[in-house]
């Protein structure tokens, strides 16, 4: 099938196209530079055309989601929508049903979403859920930061073994890249504790976050994975944690990037908002965004996504189990906790972020400060750490905040947020506004680049035919007006067209076609003998401590159909 998207205003930061009137041509599942006369013309005159969105960090599939749905039936009744001729019934707000997750991302014009935390033991479950989520490609990140074998090898400083283990475990879990959550802290939770800062050793293992982060980063660059190490640093959500965040970013500064990868960073720091807090307690809690943003501005080896608080009632779910316990003690609502054997832990609680609450409001402001203080939009990605700071369906609202200083000031003046915003953050001094090109950068181009996915996030010839068209005419529309914020939100939430692999999935904000999602995974080649060596080495411990047999631990190929295999030439 061939299409021409005619006369749209194209924003494609990867190819330096900033709001030019241009036709986009599609043949089958790729962008091309010419099509036959048979091509179907889609008139999108003067409308915004971008590559389909790419999400670098979202929790959409896996045991945490299932636990959330079981544990929060009251969330499931929000967002109930009847089936249509095309779609299944939907339910849920912060933890939508699997089909609803796909539909809602698709309606926002997204085509690729990274599932941010997959314990290998639960990888099968994650891939099963991805099979139930339609319309988006999903790249799962496998958890390594508290894995017993990694802790052991990091303690020994044995980078070769870490690399072989990671290479093998990405194959086993069919993961796309490496995720690290509260390194050593989630393991310490097995002893009922946590670690503070990157130099506080985990009990028994006597290894620190610094050693784990460095070891995994070195292994990542040794293998040359498409994505860098993706880290949720220690001390999430604790006042005064900004120094830990800077230390975490700085501890890999000297590690050389693999020369063949297309990304620029060696470390991606996720949901930075939760890690940029000043003060010493909730009483004197203030913004630590400035030093963190300043560090990122001076250090191109780091990228981040924000985890913007959206001021909703939502659900938090993370492998950072000790943090969830702290949060549970703070809120007094309900709490679920899980131990993932040799790999990690997880926790889950409902959270109400309210504009009336000083802490929530300041978290909201810190997220926006980071968006506005990090100068280079290629180092920032728009996320809500969905559903932790808010559900992903709020991305369009965040876009409206980023594009309008007037709207932000209106929220502060109308007391939609607490006065701590102006008292304890610098948000009111920041009048920077994102333009549509910046928005395209932080929602598509930058995340694709950061993930090392050259086949998406842009509209150059040869790219995947993943395109979004939004019902805004940028040439006669001023997104900086507060009154237009709701129009921006509506347009980015209801794409005029979402095209995925050359197929029209959304038209006029409605799902018109449902296709299976692809599982994106990294296959390291040329490391097989090393992998076998490490398997032989660890199998005695595996057999002794895991509750499953190795044969049942592997994610077999039928769990990942259809899939896209990213071949990694190890050590190239």
């Amino acid at each position: 099938m061939e299409y021409v998207l005619k006369n749209g205003i194209v924003y494609d930061p990867t190819n330096n196209i900033n709001g030019e009137k241009k036709d986009i041509m599609i043949k089958d599942d790729k962008i091309v530079d010419n099509v036959s006369s048979e091509a179907k013309i889609i008139d999108v005159t003067n409308k915004i055309v971008m590559a389909a969105g790419v999400d670098v960090h979202s929790h959409i599939a896996g045991p945490k989601l299932c636990l959330g749905r079981l544990y929060r039936p009251e969330d499931s009744r929000r967002g109930v929508k009847a089936k249509t001729d095309v779609t299944r019934a939907e339910s849920g707000f912060s933890i939508p049903s699997c089909p609803a997750t796909g539909y809602r991302y698709s309606k926002m014009g997204y085509g690729t979403v990274t599932e941010a935390a997959v314990p290998p033991l639960e990888a099968k479950h994650t891939h099963e859920e991805i099979m139930a989520i339609p319309n988006i490609d999903v790249s799962p990140l496998t958890l390594f930061g508290n894995n017993w074998f990694v802790l052991q090898f990091a303690k020994e400083g044995n980078i070769e073994d870490i690399a072989a283990f990671v290479s093998s475990w990405l194959k086993i879990s069919k993961g796309y890249g490496m995720k690290v959550v509260n390194p050593c802290g989630s393991e310490a939770w097995g002893w009922g504790g946590n670690v503070h800062g990157i130099d506080d050793p985990a009990p028994y293992w006597d290894v620190t976050g610094r050693e784990v982060i460095r070891g995994l980063t070195q292994a990542n660059e040794m293998l040359g994975l498409n994505h860098s190490i993706h880290i949720h640093p220690n001390d999430l959500g604790h006042p005064g944690n900004f120094q830990t965040t800077i230390n975490s970013m700085d501890c890999v500064k000297d590690i050389k990037k693999n020369s063949d990868v297309t990304r620029n960073q060696t470390l991606h720091c996720t949901h930075l908002q939760f890690h940029s807090y000043g003060g010493t307690s909730w009483r004197d809690f203030n913004s630590g965004a400035e030093p963190v943003a300043d560090y990122i501005n001076k250090n191109p080896h780091v990228t981040c996504d924000i985890g913007q608080v959206t001021l909703d009632e939502t659900t938090t779910m993370t492998a950072d189990a000790p943090m969830e316990y702290d949060l549970y003690k703070l809120t007094g609502l309900k709490w679920a906790n899980k131990d993932i054997e040799l790999e990690t832990a997880s926790g889950l609680i409902p959270v109400i972020y309210s504009g009336k609450s000083p802490v929530s409001s300041l978290q909201w402001a810190i997220g926006l400060e980071l968006f506005l203080m990090v100068d280079n939009p290629w180092q920032v990605v728009l996320t809500t750490d969905s559903p932790n700071a808010g559900p992903f369906i709020r991305y369009p609202r965040i876009i409206s905040w980023l594009m309008s200083n007037e709207r932000r000031m209106e929220m502060i003046e109308n007391r939609e947020v607490h006065k701590w915003v102006e008292q304890r953050s610098a948000l009111t001094t920041l009048d920077r506004e994102y333009d549509f090109n910046d928005i395209a950068t932080v929602t598509r181009s930058a995340p694709a680049k950061i993930l090392g996915m050259d086949d998406r996030g842009h509209l150059g010839v040869g790219a995947n035919a993943d395109v979004a068209v939004y019902d805004i005419e940028p040439d006669n529309f001023d997104p900086s007006k507060a009154a237009n914020a709701s129009i921006v939100e509506k347009a980015f939430g209801n794409a005029l067209y979402t095209i995925k692999d050359g197929r029209i999935l959304v038209k006029d904000g409605e799902i018109v076609k449902v296709v299976p999602s692809k599982h994106l995974w990294s296959n390291v080649e040329g490391y097989e003998s090393e992998e076998q060596r490490i398997l032989n080495k660890i199998m005695p411990q595996f057999n002794k401590y895991y509750s499953v047999k190795f044969e049942n631990y592997l994610v077999q190929d039928h769990y990942i159909n259809p899939s896209v295999e990213y071949k990694i030439n190890a050590g190239k």
Binding site: Y71, R72, P73, E74, D75, R77, A89, L333, K334
Partner: protein, 269 residues
Amino acid sequence: MKTITLTPKKFSSIALEFEELTPDDVYNWNKEDFEKYQVPIGNSRFPLTNYFDIEVEGSAEGPQDVKMILDGDMGRVKYIGLGMTDGEIIVNGDADLHVGAEMEGGSITVNGNAESYAGREMKGGILTIMGNTKEYCGTSYIGEWRGMTGGIINVHGNAGKQVADCMSGGEIYIDGNCDILAGIHMTKGYIEIAGDVTRWPAGQMKNGTVVIKGKLNNLLEGFEPEGIISNPEINGKQFQGKYIKYKGDIGVNGKGNLWLNADKNRSLL
């Protein structure tokens, strides 16, 4: 005044859902509107007229002028009066799950038994059940920690388990007996049980008042006796006889009041 009468003519073993048929929704409907209406049943919709003979008399300016008579067995009709703000609904038979749930005003009378979740998350109005009701009367939604906040529920028969879970306002009166955990997680409000109670009333109560006029088989350990009071005044009402007053649940540092009829609970004296 508008009187809407629905008389059942065909039984559906899959429940019908009446959440779109409250006085707020139908006060300006005429007979033709009802005849056009398709009622949700399971995952589909079917004409309401398949199941009911419908009569509409008079006119209404708003829901306050509406009297709906559901004239027969509604034992497979869920969500009767869901979220209604005004008007009157009379059920001349049994009612299925969630009758009067999220109700904000007006009144519902069930001249039969009600299934579980009667008056769930009620905010206002009056729900009267002439027969028995099952579990979770006047509670929160499953998983939800914010429950009933206002209104009055009168149960003339017996009530099942977990009456008023997470209640934070309103009043519940049960003339008959009550099963386990009445008033669990309660933070405010008033529950009066005229009959006997099996076990564990007011578990993890933070505040509010539960009065039991009958015999209680099993009291939770988290309640500390504060004394015996003759003819106490509770919630603005004089009670005859001696009552044992408890404070609890101390397990959650609660300041709630639990009153037990002393004569019926001599073993606790």
